[in-house]
Protein backbone atom coordinates (compact mmCIF):
# COMPACT_ATOMS: atom_id res chain seq x y z
CA UNK A 1 0.00 0.00 0.00
CA UNK A 2 1.48 3.33 -0.99
CA UNK A 3 -0.98 5.77 0.37
CA UNK A 4 0.07 9.42 0.33
CA UNK A 5 0.69 10.83 3.81
CA UNK A 6 -1.24 13.88 2.70
CA UNK A 7 -2.94 15.41 -0.28
CA UNK A 8 -5.19 18.38 -0.95
CA UNK A 9 -8.65 17.27 -1.84
CA UNK A 10 -12.02 18.89 -2.19
CA UNK A 11 -14.79 18.53 0.33
CA UNK A 12 -18.15 20.20 -0.39
CA UNK A 13 -16.47 22.72 -2.67
CA UNK A 14 -13.64 23.68 -0.30
CA UNK A 15 -9.98 22.67 -0.43
CA UNK A 16 -9.16 20.31 2.43
CA UNK A 17 -5.83 18.84 3.48
CA UNK A 18 -6.34 15.12 3.94
CA UNK A 19 -3.90 13.33 6.25
CA UNK A 20 -3.35 9.59 6.30
CA UNK A 21 -1.21 6.99 7.99
CA UNK A 22 1.47 7.35 10.66
CA UNK A 23 2.56 10.89 11.41
CA UNK A 24 5.53 10.23 13.66
CA UNK A 25 8.98 11.61 14.39
CA UNK A 26 10.65 8.63 12.73
CA UNK A 27 9.01 9.56 9.39
CA UNK A 28 9.76 13.30 9.44
CA UNK A 29 11.73 13.37 6.15
CA UNK A 30 8.97 11.50 4.27
CA UNK A 31 6.31 13.76 5.74
CA UNK A 32 8.26 16.86 4.75
CA UNK A 33 8.44 15.57 1.19
CA UNK A 34 4.74 14.73 1.15
CA UNK A 35 3.81 18.20 2.39
CA UNK A 36 6.07 19.83 -0.21
CA UNK A 37 4.54 17.79 -3.00
CA UNK A 38 0.99 18.48 -1.85
CA UNK A 39 1.66 22.11 -2.63
CA UNK A 40 2.98 21.48 -6.13
CA UNK A 41 0.75 23.36 -8.61
CA UNK A 42 0.17 20.22 -10.67
CA UNK A 43 -1.49 18.53 -7.70
CA UNK A 44 -3.75 21.38 -6.62
CA UNK A 45 -7.42 20.80 -7.29
CA UNK A 46 -8.49 23.03 -10.14
CA UNK A 47 -9.56 26.52 -9.27
CA UNK A 48 -8.12 26.73 -5.76
CA UNK A 49 -4.90 28.16 -4.43
CA UNK A 50 -3.28 26.90 -1.29
CA UNK A 51 -3.92 30.00 0.80
CA UNK A 52 -7.59 29.25 0.86
CA UNK A 53 -7.12 25.91 2.62
CA UNK A 54 -10.29 25.53 4.65
CA UNK A 55 -9.87 22.48 6.84
CA UNK A 56 -7.79 19.43 7.69
CA UNK A 57 -9.28 15.98 7.46
CA UNK A 58 -7.76 13.50 9.90
CA UNK A 59 -10.12 10.58 9.37
CA UNK A 60 -7.42 8.29 7.99
CA UNK A 61 -4.78 9.42 10.45
CA UNK A 62 -3.49 6.49 12.50
CA UNK A 63 -0.91 8.26 14.66
CA UNK A 64 0.17 11.83 15.30
CA UNK A 65 2.98 12.92 17.60
CA UNK A 66 4.20 16.38 18.50
CA UNK A 67 7.16 16.40 16.12
CA UNK A 68 4.99 15.61 13.11
CA UNK A 69 2.35 18.04 14.34
CA UNK A 70 5.03 20.74 14.53
CA UNK A 71 6.01 20.07 10.93
CA UNK A 72 2.38 20.34 9.88
CA UNK A 73 1.90 23.60 11.84
CA UNK A 74 4.96 25.12 10.20
CA UNK A 75 3.74 24.09 6.78
CA UNK A 76 0.32 25.62 7.48
CA UNK A 77 1.85 28.88 8.71
CA UNK A 78 4.12 29.05 5.67
CA UNK A 79 0.98 28.71 3.54
CA UNK A 80 -0.80 31.52 5.36
CA UNK A 81 -3.18 29.41 7.48
CA UNK A 82 -3.42 29.58 11.24
CA UNK A 83 -3.09 26.06 12.69
CA UNK A 84 -4.80 27.01 15.96
CA UNK A 85 -8.03 28.09 14.30
CA UNK A 86 -8.22 25.93 11.18
CA UNK A 87 -11.16 23.57 11.10
CA UNK A 88 -10.39 19.92 11.93
CA UNK A 89 -12.56 17.21 10.38
CA UNK A 90 -12.84 13.65 11.59
CA UNK A 91 -9.89 13.88 13.97
CA UNK A 92 -9.58 11.38 16.78
CA UNK A 93 -9.74 13.17 20.12
CA UNK A 94 -6.14 12.35 21.02
CA UNK A 95 -4.80 13.55 17.67
CA UNK A 96 -6.77 16.76 17.86
CA UNK A 97 -5.40 17.46 21.34
CA UNK A 98 -1.83 16.95 20.15
CA UNK A 99 -2.30 19.20 17.12
CA UNK A 100 -3.96 21.97 19.12
CA UNK A 101 -1.31 21.74 21.85
CA UNK A 102 1.52 22.05 19.37
CA UNK A 103 -0.24 24.85 17.50
CA UNK A 104 -0.60 26.74 20.76
CA UNK A 105 2.93 26.23 22.09
CA UNK A 106 4.69 26.87 18.80
CA UNK A 107 2.66 30.00 18.05
CA UNK A 108 4.70 33.17 17.55
CA UNK A 109 8.01 31.49 18.34
CA UNK A 110 11.20 32.75 16.89
CA UNK A 111 13.44 29.70 17.04
CA UNK A 112 16.59 31.71 16.59
CA UNK A 113 16.11 33.02 20.16
CA UNK A 114 17.31 29.67 21.43
CA UNK A 115 20.52 29.96 19.47
CA UNK A 116 23.63 30.92 21.43
CA UNK A 117 25.01 34.33 20.44
CA UNK A 118 27.17 34.31 17.33
CA UNK A 119 30.89 33.79 17.70
CA UNK A 120 33.22 36.74 17.83
CA UNK A 121 35.62 37.56 15.04
CA UNK A 122 39.28 36.60 15.36
CA UNK A 123 40.43 40.06 16.44
CA UNK A 124 37.71 40.44 19.06
CA UNK A 125 38.46 36.93 20.35
CA UNK A 126 42.15 37.81 20.63
CA UNK A 127 41.32 40.97 22.55
CA UNK A 128 38.85 39.20 24.82
CA UNK A 129 41.31 36.46 25.67
CA UNK A 130 44.07 39.01 26.34
CA UNK A 131 41.83 40.91 28.73
CA UNK A 132 40.78 37.64 30.37
CA UNK A 133 44.44 36.71 30.82
CA UNK A 134 45.31 40.06 32.40
CA UNK A 135 42.26 39.77 34.65
CA UNK A 136 43.38 36.34 35.72
CA UNK A 137 46.91 37.57 36.42
CA UNK A 138 45.55 40.42 38.54
CA UNK A 139 43.33 37.94 40.37
CA UNK A 140 46.32 35.70 41.06
CA UNK A 141 48.28 38.60 42.54
CA UNK A 142 45.31 39.52 44.73
CA UNK A 143 44.91 35.93 45.86
CA UNK A 144 48.65 35.71 46.62
CA UNK A 145 48.32 38.70 48.95
CA UNK A 146 45.27 37.15 50.59
CA UNK A 147 47.05 33.83 51.12
CA UNK A 148 50.16 35.55 52.57
CA UNK A 149 48.00 37.48 55.04
CA UNK A 150 46.28 34.27 56.08
CA UNK A 151 49.62 32.48 56.49
CA UNK A 152 50.84 35.42 58.59
CA UNK A 153 47.71 35.12 60.71
CA UNK A 154 48.33 31.42 61.22
CA UNK A 155 51.93 32.07 62.24
CA UNK A 156 50.98 34.80 64.70
CA UNK A 157 48.19 32.71 66.18
CA UNK A 158 49.20 29.07 65.73
CA UNK A 159 45.88 27.90 67.15
CA UNK A 160 44.36 28.85 63.80
CA UNK A 161 46.64 26.49 61.92
CA UNK A 162 45.15 23.10 61.08
CA UNK A 163 47.97 20.72 61.96
CA UNK A 164 46.06 17.58 60.99
CA UNK A 165 45.30 18.91 57.52
CA UNK A 166 48.87 20.20 57.19
CA UNK A 167 50.29 16.75 57.98
CA UNK A 168 47.92 15.11 55.48
CA UNK A 169 49.02 17.55 52.80
CA UNK A 170 52.71 17.12 53.67
CA UNK A 171 52.34 13.40 53.17
CA UNK A 172 50.45 13.83 49.90
CA UNK A 173 52.60 16.48 48.24
CA UNK A 174 56.02 15.38 49.52
CA UNK A 175 56.31 11.81 50.77
CA UNK A 176 54.29 10.24 47.99
CA UNK A 177 56.10 12.38 45.39
CA UNK A 178 59.58 11.11 46.32
CA UNK A 179 59.60 7.99 44.10
CA UNK A 180 58.55 9.77 40.91
CA UNK A 181 60.89 12.71 41.57
CA UNK A 182 63.84 10.38 42.23
CA UNK A 183 63.13 8.29 39.14
CA UNK A 184 62.76 11.22 36.74
CA UNK A 185 65.78 13.21 38.01
CA UNK A 186 67.95 10.08 38.05
CA UNK A 187 67.13 9.43 34.39
CA UNK A 188 67.76 13.06 33.47
CA UNK A 189 71.12 12.99 35.29
CA UNK A 190 71.97 9.81 33.42
CA UNK A 191 71.14 11.24 30.00
CA UNK A 192 72.78 14.57 30.77
CA UNK A 193 76.04 12.89 31.85
CA UNK A 194 75.97 10.68 28.77
CA UNK A 195 75.59 13.62 26.37
CA UNK A 196 78.26 15.69 28.14
CA UNK A 197 80.50 12.63 28.20
CA UNK A 198 80.26 12.21 24.41
CA UNK A 199 81.66 15.73 23.98
CA UNK A 200 84.20 15.65 26.81
CA UNK A 201 85.61 12.29 25.68
CA UNK A 202 86.82 13.84 22.41
CA UNK A 203 89.15 16.09 24.41
CA UNK A 204 90.02 13.42 26.98
CA UNK A 205 88.37 15.64 29.54
CA UNK A 206 86.13 12.96 31.05
CA UNK A 207 86.47 14.27 34.57
CA UNK A 208 84.87 17.61 33.64
CA UNK A 209 81.58 15.82 33.10
CA UNK A 210 81.30 15.96 36.89
CA UNK A 211 81.60 19.75 36.85
CA UNK A 212 78.93 20.14 34.20
CA UNK A 213 76.45 17.70 35.63
CA UNK A 214 76.86 18.99 39.19
CA UNK A 215 76.33 22.60 38.21
CA UNK A 216 73.50 21.91 35.78
CA UNK A 217 71.59 19.50 37.96
CA UNK A 218 71.72 21.36 41.27
CA UNK A 219 71.26 24.86 39.98
CA UNK A 220 68.77 24.43 37.12
CA UNK A 221 67.55 20.99 36.17
CA UNK A 222 66.56 19.54 39.49
CA UNK A 223 64.48 22.55 40.68
CA UNK A 224 62.87 22.84 37.27
CA UNK A 225 62.01 19.18 36.82
CA UNK A 226 60.70 18.92 40.37
CA UNK A 227 58.56 22.02 39.77
CA UNK A 228 57.09 20.53 36.58
CA UNK A 229 56.29 17.27 38.36
CA UNK A 230 54.76 19.08 41.32
CA UNK A 231 52.67 21.34 39.04
CA UNK A 232 51.28 18.24 37.35
CA UNK A 233 50.78 16.29 40.56
CA UNK A 234 49.87 18.70 43.34
CA UNK A 235 48.81 21.82 41.43
CA UNK A 236 46.28 19.84 39.42
CA UNK A 237 45.15 17.99 42.53
CA UNK A 238 44.56 21.25 44.43
CA UNK A 239 42.46 22.70 41.61
CA UNK A 240 40.40 19.52 41.22
CA UNK A 241 39.90 18.93 44.95
CA UNK A 242 38.87 22.48 45.77
CA UNK A 243 36.77 22.75 42.60
CA UNK A 244 34.85 19.59 43.49
CA UNK A 245 34.38 20.73 47.08
CA UNK A 246 33.02 24.02 45.84
CA UNK A 247 30.68 22.32 43.36
CA UNK A 248 29.45 20.15 46.22
CA UNK A 249 28.93 23.26 48.40
CA UNK A 250 31.41 21.87 50.95
CA UNK A 251 33.30 25.16 50.94
CA UNK A 252 30.04 26.98 51.70
CA UNK A 253 29.39 24.56 54.55
CA UNK A 254 32.83 25.35 55.96
CA UNK A 255 32.10 29.08 55.80
CA UNK A 256 28.65 28.71 57.35
CA UNK A 257 30.10 26.68 60.22
CA UNK A 258 32.10 29.76 61.09
CA UNK A 259 35.41 28.37 59.84
CA UNK A 260 37.73 30.13 57.47
CA UNK A 261 37.96 28.43 54.09
CA UNK A 262 41.44 29.88 53.70
CA UNK A 263 42.67 28.43 57.00
CA UNK A 264 41.02 25.05 56.57
CA UNK A 265 41.80 24.41 52.91
CA UNK A 266 44.22 26.88 51.39
CA UNK A 267 46.88 27.60 54.03
CA UNK A 268 47.71 23.93 54.76
CA UNK A 269 48.12 23.23 51.07
CA UNK A 270 50.30 26.27 50.35
CA UNK A 271 52.43 25.77 53.46
CA UNK A 272 52.88 22.07 52.78
CA UNK A 273 54.11 22.73 49.26
CA UNK A 274 56.40 25.65 50.21
CA UNK A 275 57.97 23.69 53.07
CA UNK A 276 58.57 20.48 51.17
CA UNK A 277 59.59 21.60 47.69
CA UNK A 278 63.23 22.28 48.75
CA UNK A 279 63.32 18.75 50.18
CA UNK A 280 62.09 17.34 46.89
CA UNK A 281 64.71 19.38 45.04
CA UNK A 282 67.37 17.93 47.33
CA UNK A 283 66.10 14.43 46.57
CA UNK A 284 66.30 15.37 42.89
CA UNK A 285 69.92 16.60 43.30
CA UNK A 286 71.03 13.36 44.91
CA UNK A 287 69.18 11.15 42.46
CA UNK A 288 70.41 13.14 39.46
CA UNK A 289 74.04 12.99 40.60
CA UNK A 290 73.67 9.28 41.35
CA UNK A 291 72.43 8.71 37.81
CA UNK A 292 75.34 10.73 36.44
CA UNK A 293 77.85 8.82 38.61
CA UNK A 294 76.51 5.54 37.28
CA UNK A 295 77.02 6.59 33.66
CA UNK A 296 80.42 8.11 34.48
CA UNK A 297 81.51 4.80 35.97
CA UNK A 298 80.19 2.65 33.12
CA UNK A 299 81.14 4.75 30.09
CA UNK A 300 83.69 7.35 31.06
CA UNK A 301 86.02 5.45 33.41
CA UNK A 302 85.32 7.87 36.23
CA UNK A 303 84.96 5.73 39.36
CA UNK A 304 82.38 6.72 41.97
CA UNK A 305 85.10 7.77 44.42
CA UNK A 306 86.77 9.99 41.81
CA UNK A 307 83.31 11.38 41.01
CA UNK A 308 82.67 12.30 44.65
CA UNK A 309 86.11 13.87 45.23
CA UNK A 310 85.79 15.87 42.00
CA UNK A 311 82.29 16.91 43.16
CA UNK A 312 83.86 18.33 46.34
CA UNK A 313 86.29 20.45 44.35
CA UNK A 314 84.06 21.51 41.48
CA UNK A 315 80.66 22.20 43.03
CA UNK A 316 80.51 25.49 44.94
CA UNK A 317 77.83 25.36 47.66
CA UNK A 318 76.20 28.50 46.30
CA UNK A 319 74.96 26.64 43.21
CA UNK A 320 73.15 24.13 45.39
CA UNK A 321 71.80 26.93 47.58
CA UNK A 322 70.49 28.89 44.59
CA UNK A 323 68.71 25.77 43.34
CA UNK A 324 67.18 25.12 46.75
CA UNK A 325 66.30 28.81 47.22
CA UNK A 326 64.23 28.84 44.03
CA UNK A 327 62.11 25.92 45.19
CA UNK A 328 59.86 27.77 47.71
CA UNK A 329 59.07 30.43 45.11
CA UNK A 330 58.10 27.79 42.57
CA UNK A 331 56.04 26.08 45.26
CA UNK A 332 54.23 29.27 46.24
CA UNK A 333 53.39 29.99 42.61
CA UNK A 334 52.07 26.49 41.93
CA UNK A 335 50.07 26.27 45.16
CA UNK A 336 48.51 29.72 44.78
CA UNK A 337 47.51 29.10 41.18
CA UNK A 338 46.16 25.63 41.99
CA UNK A 339 44.09 26.84 44.94
CA UNK A 340 42.78 29.91 43.16
CA UNK A 341 41.78 27.96 40.03
CA UNK A 342 39.87 25.58 42.30
CA UNK A 343 38.09 28.41 44.11
CA UNK A 344 36.98 30.49 41.11
CA UNK A 345 34.83 30.22 38.02
CA UNK A 346 31.31 28.90 37.42
CA UNK A 347 30.30 25.96 39.56
CA UNK A 348 29.97 23.20 37.02
CA UNK A 349 31.84 20.05 36.11
CA UNK A 350 33.32 21.49 32.95
CA UNK A 351 35.05 24.26 34.90
CA UNK A 352 36.80 21.71 37.11
CA UNK A 353 38.27 20.09 34.02
CA UNK A 354 39.35 23.25 32.23
CA UNK A 355 40.69 24.86 35.39
CA UNK A 356 42.71 21.77 36.30
CA UNK A 357 44.32 21.75 32.86
CA UNK A 358 44.89 25.48 33.04
CA UNK A 359 46.54 25.15 36.46
CA UNK A 360 49.20 22.83 35.09
CA UNK A 361 49.89 25.02 32.07
CA UNK A 362 50.04 28.22 34.11
CA UNK A 363 52.17 26.53 36.75
CA UNK A 364 54.79 25.35 34.28
CA UNK A 365 54.91 28.66 32.41
CA UNK A 366 55.10 30.59 35.68
CA UNK A 367 57.92 28.41 36.96
CA UNK A 368 59.96 29.04 33.81
CA UNK A 369 59.35 32.79 34.10
CA UNK A 370 60.48 32.84 37.75
CA UNK A 371 63.51 30.76 36.84
CA UNK A 372 64.47 33.27 34.16
CA UNK A 373 64.09 36.15 36.62
CA UNK A 374 66.37 34.29 39.04
CA UNK A 375 68.94 33.72 36.31
CA UNK A 376 69.05 37.44 35.47
CA UNK A 377 69.24 38.50 39.12
CA UNK A 378 72.03 36.04 39.87
CA UNK A 379 73.96 37.15 36.84
CA UNK A 380 73.66 40.80 38.01
CA UNK A 381 75.04 40.06 41.47
CA UNK A 382 77.72 37.88 39.94
CA UNK A 383 76.77 34.54 41.53
Amino acid sequence: MTQDACRIGVDSGRPVLELAGDWRLARLPELARALREARAPSRQPAGFDRSSLAAIDGTDLSALDTAAALQLCRWLRAGGSDPSSIELLGFEQGHERVLRLVARTSDGQDESDARPPARRGALAALGASTIAMLDMLRGHVGFLGYVLVEIGRALVDPKQLRFGELLTQLSRVCVSAVPVVALVTCLIGLVFAYLLGLQAEQYGANIFVVDGVALGMTREFSPMIVAVIVAGRSGAAFAAQLGTMRLNEETDAIAVLGLSVAQVLVVPRVLALVLTMPLLVFVGNVAGLAGAAAIADLMLDVTPSTFVSRLHDALAPRHVLIGLAKAPFFALLIAVIGCRMGMTGPRDTRTIGTHTTSTVVQGIVGVIVIDAIFAILMQRIGW
Binding site: R24, L25, A26, L28, P29, A32, D65, T66, A67, L70, Q71, R74, G94, R97, V98, L101, V102, T105, S106, Q109, D110, E111, S112, D113, A114, R115, P116, P117, P346, R347, D348, T349, R350, T351
Partner: protein, 256 residues
Protein backbone atom coordinates in the same frame (compact mmCIF):
# COMPACT_ATOMS: atom_id res chain seq x y z
CA UNK B 1 -5.91 -5.65 27.92
CA UNK B 2 -2.91 -4.45 25.96
CA UNK B 3 0.58 -5.39 27.01
CA UNK B 4 1.77 -3.55 30.11
CA UNK B 5 4.40 -0.85 29.62
CA UNK B 6 6.43 -1.88 32.65
CA UNK B 7 6.48 -5.28 34.21
CA UNK B 8 8.71 -6.24 37.13
CA UNK B 9 8.67 -9.88 38.23
CA UNK B 10 10.41 -11.13 41.35
CA UNK B 11 13.06 -8.43 41.28
CA UNK B 12 15.70 -8.78 43.99
CA UNK B 13 18.48 -6.31 44.73
CA UNK B 14 21.10 -6.28 47.43
CA UNK B 15 24.10 -4.10 48.17
CA UNK B 16 26.48 -6.30 50.13
CA UNK B 17 24.46 -7.63 53.02
CA UNK B 18 21.80 -4.95 52.70
CA UNK B 19 18.64 -6.20 50.97
CA UNK B 20 16.95 -3.46 48.95
CA UNK B 21 14.34 -5.38 46.95
CA UNK B 22 13.09 -8.86 47.60
CA UNK B 23 10.68 -10.48 45.18
CA UNK B 24 9.31 -7.15 43.96
CA UNK B 25 6.39 -7.33 41.51
CA UNK B 26 4.94 -4.31 39.74
CA UNK B 27 2.91 -3.80 36.57
CA UNK B 28 2.21 -0.44 34.99
CA UNK B 29 -0.10 -0.04 32.00
CA UNK B 30 -0.09 2.41 29.10
CA UNK B 31 -1.07 5.99 29.86
CA UNK B 32 -0.88 5.66 33.63
CA UNK B 33 0.55 8.36 35.87
CA UNK B 34 2.16 6.51 38.76
CA UNK B 35 3.90 7.96 41.80
CA UNK B 36 6.33 5.78 43.71
CA UNK B 37 6.83 6.67 47.36
CA UNK B 38 8.56 5.04 50.30
CA UNK B 39 10.96 5.79 53.12
CA UNK B 40 14.63 6.50 52.56
CA UNK B 41 16.54 3.43 51.45
CA UNK B 42 13.51 1.51 50.22
CA UNK B 43 15.00 1.43 46.74
CA UNK B 44 12.77 3.82 44.80
CA UNK B 45 15.54 5.33 42.70
CA UNK B 46 17.25 1.95 42.44
CA UNK B 47 14.04 0.55 40.95
CA UNK B 48 13.97 3.31 38.32
CA UNK B 49 17.61 2.61 37.48
CA UNK B 50 16.83 -1.07 37.07
CA UNK B 51 13.89 -0.37 34.76
CA UNK B 52 15.87 1.93 32.47
CA UNK B 53 18.85 -0.42 32.31
CA UNK B 54 21.40 1.45 34.40
CA UNK B 55 21.68 -1.11 37.17
CA UNK B 56 21.27 -4.85 36.95
CA UNK B 57 18.97 -6.46 39.52
CA UNK B 58 20.32 -9.55 41.30
CA UNK B 59 17.20 -11.56 40.59
CA UNK B 60 13.97 -11.42 38.61
CA UNK B 61 13.08 -9.86 35.29
CA UNK B 62 12.30 -6.35 34.11
CA UNK B 63 10.23 -5.81 30.97
CA UNK B 64 9.89 -2.32 29.54
CA UNK B 65 7.69 -1.72 26.46
CA UNK B 66 7.73 -5.44 25.76
CA UNK B 67 11.52 -5.83 25.89
CA UNK B 68 13.29 -7.75 28.64
CA UNK B 69 15.74 -5.01 29.63
CA UNK B 70 18.37 -7.31 31.08
CA UNK B 71 18.20 -9.98 28.35
CA UNK B 72 18.12 -7.62 25.37
CA UNK B 73 21.08 -7.30 23.01
CA UNK B 74 22.72 -3.96 22.23
CA UNK B 75 20.55 -3.24 19.17
CA UNK B 76 17.31 -3.93 21.05
CA UNK B 77 18.50 -1.78 23.94
CA UNK B 78 19.36 1.20 21.78
CA UNK B 79 15.99 0.91 20.02
CA UNK B 80 14.34 0.75 23.43
CA UNK B 81 16.25 3.79 24.71
CA UNK B 82 14.65 5.93 22.01
CA UNK B 83 11.23 5.11 23.36
CA UNK B 84 11.57 6.40 26.91
CA UNK B 85 12.92 9.53 28.55
CA UNK B 86 14.42 9.96 31.97
CA UNK B 87 14.82 13.03 34.11
CA UNK B 88 17.46 12.80 36.81
CA UNK B 89 17.14 14.43 40.18
CA UNK B 90 19.25 17.48 39.52
CA UNK B 91 18.71 17.50 35.77
CA UNK B 92 22.06 15.97 34.78
CA UNK B 93 22.35 18.47 31.93
CA UNK B 94 25.64 18.36 30.04
CA UNK B 95 27.48 21.33 31.51
CA UNK B 96 29.58 22.02 28.44
CA UNK B 97 26.53 22.50 26.18
CA UNK B 98 23.93 25.24 26.07
CA UNK B 99 20.39 24.31 27.06
CA UNK B 100 19.25 24.22 23.43
CA UNK B 101 22.22 22.01 22.52
CA UNK B 102 21.35 19.72 25.43
CA UNK B 103 17.83 19.24 24.07
CA UNK B 104 19.22 18.76 20.57
CA UNK B 105 21.55 15.92 21.63
CA UNK B 106 18.97 13.10 21.46
CA UNK B 107 17.50 14.57 18.24
CA UNK B 108 20.88 14.62 16.52
CA UNK B 109 22.10 11.29 17.87
CA UNK B 110 18.95 9.45 16.78
CA UNK B 111 19.58 10.48 13.15
CA UNK B 112 15.82 10.40 12.66
CA UNK B 113 15.28 14.12 12.48
CA UNK B 114 16.23 16.13 9.38
CA UNK B 115 18.69 18.92 10.23
CA UNK B 116 16.30 21.75 9.38
CA UNK B 117 13.71 20.39 11.82
CA UNK B 118 16.06 20.23 14.82
CA UNK B 119 15.89 23.90 15.73
CA UNK B 120 12.08 24.15 15.55
CA UNK B 121 11.73 20.92 17.53
CA UNK B 122 14.10 22.18 20.22
CA UNK B 123 12.01 25.35 20.44
CA UNK B 124 8.83 23.29 20.76
CA UNK B 125 10.32 21.13 23.52
CA UNK B 126 11.45 24.20 25.46
CA UNK B 127 7.96 25.67 25.13
CA UNK B 128 6.36 22.38 26.15
CA UNK B 129 8.52 22.32 29.27
CA UNK B 130 7.49 25.90 29.99
CA UNK B 131 10.86 27.51 29.38
CA UNK B 132 11.22 30.87 27.67
CA UNK B 133 13.04 30.50 24.37
CA UNK B 134 15.99 32.68 25.33
CA UNK B 135 16.79 30.15 28.07
CA UNK B 136 17.95 27.91 25.24
CA UNK B 137 21.00 30.07 24.64
CA UNK B 138 22.10 29.85 28.28
CA UNK B 139 24.49 27.41 29.85
CA UNK B 140 23.09 25.02 32.48
CA UNK B 141 25.14 26.72 35.22
CA UNK B 142 23.29 29.97 34.54
CA UNK B 143 19.86 28.46 35.26
CA UNK B 144 17.97 28.28 38.53
CA UNK B 145 17.12 24.87 39.98
CA UNK B 146 13.56 24.95 38.63
CA UNK B 147 14.67 25.93 35.15
CA UNK B 148 17.32 23.20 35.15
CA UNK B 149 14.61 20.67 35.87
CA UNK B 150 12.45 22.05 33.07
CA UNK B 151 15.40 21.88 30.69
CA UNK B 152 15.93 18.28 31.76
CA UNK B 153 12.28 17.50 30.97
CA UNK B 154 12.66 19.18 27.59
CA UNK B 155 15.62 16.89 26.86
CA UNK B 156 13.76 13.83 28.10
CA UNK B 157 10.82 14.69 25.80
CA UNK B 158 12.99 15.28 22.75
CA UNK B 159 12.30 12.01 20.96
CA UNK B 160 8.57 11.66 21.75
CA UNK B 161 8.99 9.12 24.53
CA UNK B 162 6.21 6.67 25.28
CA UNK B 163 7.32 6.49 28.89
CA UNK B 164 8.80 9.22 31.04
CA UNK B 165 10.69 8.47 34.26
CA UNK B 166 11.28 11.23 36.76
CA UNK B 167 13.38 11.07 39.90
CA UNK B 168 12.03 13.58 42.43
CA UNK B 169 10.88 16.13 39.84
CA UNK B 170 9.63 18.66 42.41
CA UNK B 171 12.29 18.34 45.12
CA UNK B 172 13.93 21.63 45.92
CA UNK B 173 11.29 23.67 44.09
CA UNK B 174 9.04 26.30 45.63
CA UNK B 175 5.38 25.23 45.88
CA UNK B 176 4.24 27.44 42.99
CA UNK B 177 6.86 26.09 40.60
CA UNK B 178 6.22 22.59 41.90
CA UNK B 179 2.48 22.84 41.17
CA UNK B 180 3.23 24.16 37.66
CA UNK B 181 5.43 21.11 37.24
CA UNK B 182 2.60 18.86 38.35
CA UNK B 183 0.30 20.40 35.76
CA UNK B 184 2.98 19.89 33.12
CA UNK B 185 3.22 16.19 33.96
CA UNK B 186 -0.55 15.89 34.00
CA UNK B 187 -0.84 17.41 30.54
CA UNK B 188 1.95 15.19 29.18
CA UNK B 189 0.03 12.20 30.42
CA UNK B 190 -3.43 13.33 29.33
CA UNK B 191 -2.77 15.22 26.11
CA UNK B 192 0.08 13.17 24.73
CA UNK B 193 -0.74 9.82 26.31
CA UNK B 194 2.73 9.43 27.80
CA UNK B 195 3.08 6.94 30.64
CA UNK B 196 4.62 8.85 33.54
CA UNK B 197 6.42 7.20 36.45
CA UNK B 198 7.77 9.47 39.15
CA UNK B 199 9.57 8.97 42.41
CA UNK B 200 8.49 11.72 44.77
CA UNK B 201 8.31 12.87 48.35
CA UNK B 202 6.02 15.76 47.58
CA UNK B 203 2.66 15.12 49.23
CA UNK B 204 0.99 17.90 47.26
CA UNK B 205 2.07 16.26 44.02
CA UNK B 206 0.65 12.98 45.22
CA UNK B 207 -2.67 14.52 46.10
CA UNK B 208 -3.07 16.55 42.94
CA UNK B 209 -1.83 14.39 40.11
CA UNK B 210 -1.15 10.79 41.02
CA UNK B 211 -3.90 8.51 39.78
CA UNK B 212 -2.06 5.62 41.27
CA UNK B 213 0.39 5.45 44.15
CA UNK B 214 2.86 2.64 44.71
CA UNK B 215 4.39 2.44 48.17
CA UNK B 216 7.67 0.56 48.53
CA UNK B 217 8.57 -0.89 51.90
CA UNK B 218 10.56 -3.82 53.22
CA UNK B 219 11.83 -4.68 49.77
CA UNK B 220 8.50 -5.02 48.00
CA UNK B 221 5.31 -3.16 47.11
CA UNK B 222 3.72 -2.41 50.45
CA UNK B 223 0.61 -0.79 49.01
CA UNK B 224 -0.71 0.02 45.56
CA UNK B 225 -3.83 1.95 44.64
CA UNK B 226 -5.40 5.38 44.35
CA UNK B 227 -5.00 8.01 47.04
CA UNK B 228 -8.04 6.91 49.05
CA UNK B 229 -7.00 3.28 49.08
CA UNK B 230 -3.49 4.20 50.18
CA UNK B 231 -4.72 6.51 52.93
CA UNK B 232 -7.02 3.78 54.18
CA UNK B 233 -4.06 1.41 54.52
CA UNK B 234 -3.05 0.36 58.02
CA UNK B 235 0.66 0.07 57.19
CA UNK B 236 2.37 2.01 60.01
CA UNK B 237 4.79 3.83 57.70
CA UNK B 238 1.96 4.99 55.41
CA UNK B 239 -0.11 6.17 58.37
CA UNK B 240 2.81 8.14 59.72
CA UNK B 241 3.60 9.51 56.26
CA UNK B 242 0.16 10.99 55.76
CA UNK B 243 -0.30 12.07 59.37
CA UNK B 244 2.87 14.16 59.10
CA UNK B 245 0.96 16.07 56.49
CA UNK B 246 -2.08 16.56 58.69
CA UNK B 247 0.12 17.79 61.54
CA UNK B 248 1.84 20.24 59.28
CA UNK B 249 -1.39 21.68 57.92
CA UNK B 250 -3.03 21.58 61.34
CA UNK B 251 -0.40 23.72 63.00
CA UNK B 252 -1.22 27.14 61.57
CA UNK B 253 -4.86 26.65 62.57
CA UNK B 254 -3.84 25.94 66.16
CA UNK B 255 -1.41 28.82 66.22
CA UNK B 256 -3.97 31.23 64.84
Amino acid sequence: MTEPVIELRGVGTRFGSQVVHEDLDLTIGRGELVAVIGGSGTGKSVMLREIVGLQRPDAGSVRLLGTDVWAADAAQLSALRRRFGMMFQDGALFSSLSVAANVAVPLRESRLVPAEMIEPLVALRLAQAGLPLDAGAKMPSELSGGMRKRAAIARALALEPEVLFLDEPTSGLDPITARAFDRLLESLCEDLGITVVLVTHDLDSLMTIARRIVVLGRGRVAADGDLEQIMASDDPWIREYFSSRQLATGQPANAG
